[in-house]
Amino acid sequence: MSDSVALKTSGIKAAAAPAAANKALAGPRVNGRVVVMTLYLLFLMLPIYWLVNMSLKTNTEITSGLTLWPQNLTFDNYITIFTDRSWYSGYINSLTYVLINTVLSISFALPAAYAFSRYRFLGDKHLFFWLLTNRMAPPAVFALPFFNLYSAIGLFDTPWAVALAHCLFNVPLAVWILEGFMSGVPREIDETAAIDGYSFPRFFVKIFMPLIASGIGVAAFFCFMFSWVELLLARTLTTVNAKPIAATMTRTVSASGMDWGLLAAAGVLTIIPGALVIWFVRNYIAKGFALGRV
């Protein structure tokens, strides 16, 4: 009851400034919303803060008692990672296969997404469903056969093996996202370009791709994300040369006990590429997460 009364008063204000209507409607609940949001973000950040906190401590400090911030600030853990080849090569390996995978997925998915968004063809619905099921297939099912397959064709322990394996779920996802964005572009543009004498490839690259640039960015973001966070396949398909950073991290368990500080520092460094990528696509994140379909 009090809600609807408050709603009416806020309505009077909103009438004066219609542009702020959305905000005014939510006016009476501002406090509740801020509380929910603050608590939620705090809940998200606390574990990450704890990791950062630990990465800046010495192991003696970590194991000797709980401290809310580093008493003896040290960057030794980070220095170890950046100077030890077996550590930093893990990052290079991970980034290599993630980038190969992103480029592959997007370039394969672009024409296919166009076909799905513009044409009906024999078996289109079934094909789309089949693609979707591959996004949903559990990697655990594929771990062993992939091991056999990539050993057989001699790609085992190369970034290409992981990049191709990740195409299993990233290509369908990219098709799905791009199709959503492309369906938002009116067909008239295609027709006008054809009348103007553009050949299809030229139209696609010169006119169409700039129009869905944000969609391509979002799809690339998602390919990056899912390839970067996946470990089961990446670990199964590599041993030494292409070992991802996430697998290297298990090294911190040694006979002398856990090297907690080093583990935390390695963890923090895996968060950074993600954080950078998010920053670039922050304005499209919401639409992207809805796969271009809102």
């Binding site: 809600d3 009416k8 909103a14 219609p18 209507a21 959305n22 905000k23 949001m37 939620y40 973000l41 809940f43 998200l44 574990p47 990450i48 704890w50 194991t63 998915a109 024409p111 296919a112 166009y114 513009r118 044409y119 063809f121 289109d124 979707l132 099921t133 591959n134 949903m136 297939a137 559990p138 990697p139 655990a140 099912v141 594929f142 771990a143 062993l144 056969p145 299993l168 290509v171 098709v175 369906s183 966070v229 996946e230 470990l231 089961l232 950073i245 996430a246 991290m249 907690w260 895996t270 968060i271 954080a275 998010i278 922050r282 304005n283 994140i285 919401a286 997460f289 809805a290 809102v294």
Partner: protein
């Protein structure tokens, strides 16, 4: 938007078809091949027919009992996290700031857990929930609650659920936020003129507009939780005992740990069929919702 019929479009789809078939169909054939054979090592294989499947689907055998135990655990896990993450995600989406720099900040912070490698997520919580060096475990223990996720099955479950909520609620929230953003202001103005309560606005404007994205959210969350592997593997390793051995963990144990290829392959196929069936249900619902929407708009 009406689409023209053109079978030449297949040429545009062909590359995708080939690359996904290479990654999906070939390995699946290997799995089918293994699932009907038995091996005694030395790369010698023997025809076993549907033996593995019979054993797998019979809960009284070792393999069957193990399979159904992990299946129920996985389903229970998916159900729990959907019940927590969907309402919480909607709540967070409704609480998002509407304008100003806080919007970008909230979006970036919310998306952060989604981009952390899954084993690092496991590691973060492994450390965070430890009683000796982790903030959460330490605080809970000092509140006088006996909490130890490596020893107590219930504590292990709670920790994994909280970890998953931490990891994935933002996905649901971001999806819902995208749905909410697409609602024109006119709808809210109309609601205000009618004197609609906050609940009525939610029930009749916001929820229907979010239906589509919510469907995607539920689909993605269900599928990803149903095949969860890395995070619980790092956090608890499936323990204590078998308390948190989900289907994926069990499968990898069987295939790569014990190299029981026939059993593992049979389990993979049944697992895949379950996924396929559920996926089909979601897909049908989704296409129906779309068709309805198109009819309404037309």
């Amino acid at each position: 938007m009406t689409k023209t019929v053109n079978n030449k479009a297949w040429f545009l789809v062909l590359p995708v078809f080939l690359i996904v078939a290479f990654s999906a169909v070939l390995p699946l054939m290997t799995v089918v091949n293994y699932s009907v054979q038995d091996t005694f090592g030395n790369n010698q294989f023997f025809w076993n027919g549907v033996g593995w499947f019979q054993e797998l689907l019979d809960p009284t055998t070792d393999l069957g009992g193990r399979f159904f135990d992990s299946l129920w655990r996985t389903l229970l896990f998916s159900a729990i996290i959907l019940m927590i993450e969907v309402p919480l995600g909607i709540l967070v989406a409704l609480s998002m700031p509407r304008e100003g720099w806080t919007v970008a900040l909230s979006l970036v912070l919310m998306a952060l857990p989604l981009l952390i490698p899954w084993n690092v997520v496991g590691t973060i919580w492994q450390v965070f929930a430890r009683g000796d060096i982790g903030l959460l475990g330490w605080v809970v223990n000092h509140l006088g609650i006996d909490y130890n996720y490596t020893g107590d099955p219930l504590d292990a479950w709670i920790t994994i659920v909280v970890m998953d909520v931490w990891h994935w609620t933002s996905l649901v929230a971001l999806l819902c936020y995208a749905g909410l953003k697409s609602i024109p202001d006119a709808y809210y103005q109309a609601a205000r003129i009618d004197g609609a309560s906050r609940w009525a606005v939610f029930r009749t404007i916001q929820l229907p507009k979010m239906r589509r994205v919510l469907l995607i959210a539920v689909l993605l969350r269900f599928m990803d939780s149903f095949m969860i592997y890395t995070e619980p593997f790092v956090l608890t390793g499936g323990g204590p005992g078998n308390a948190t051995t989900f289907l994926s963990i069990d499968l990898v144990k069987l295939a790569l740990g014990q190299f029981d290829l026939g059993k593992a392959a049979a389990m993979s196929l049944v697992y895949n069929l379950i996924i396929l069936a559920i996926c089909w249900v979601f897909y049908t619902i989704m296409t129906n919702v779309d068709a309805q929407k198109e009819r309404v708009e037309a």
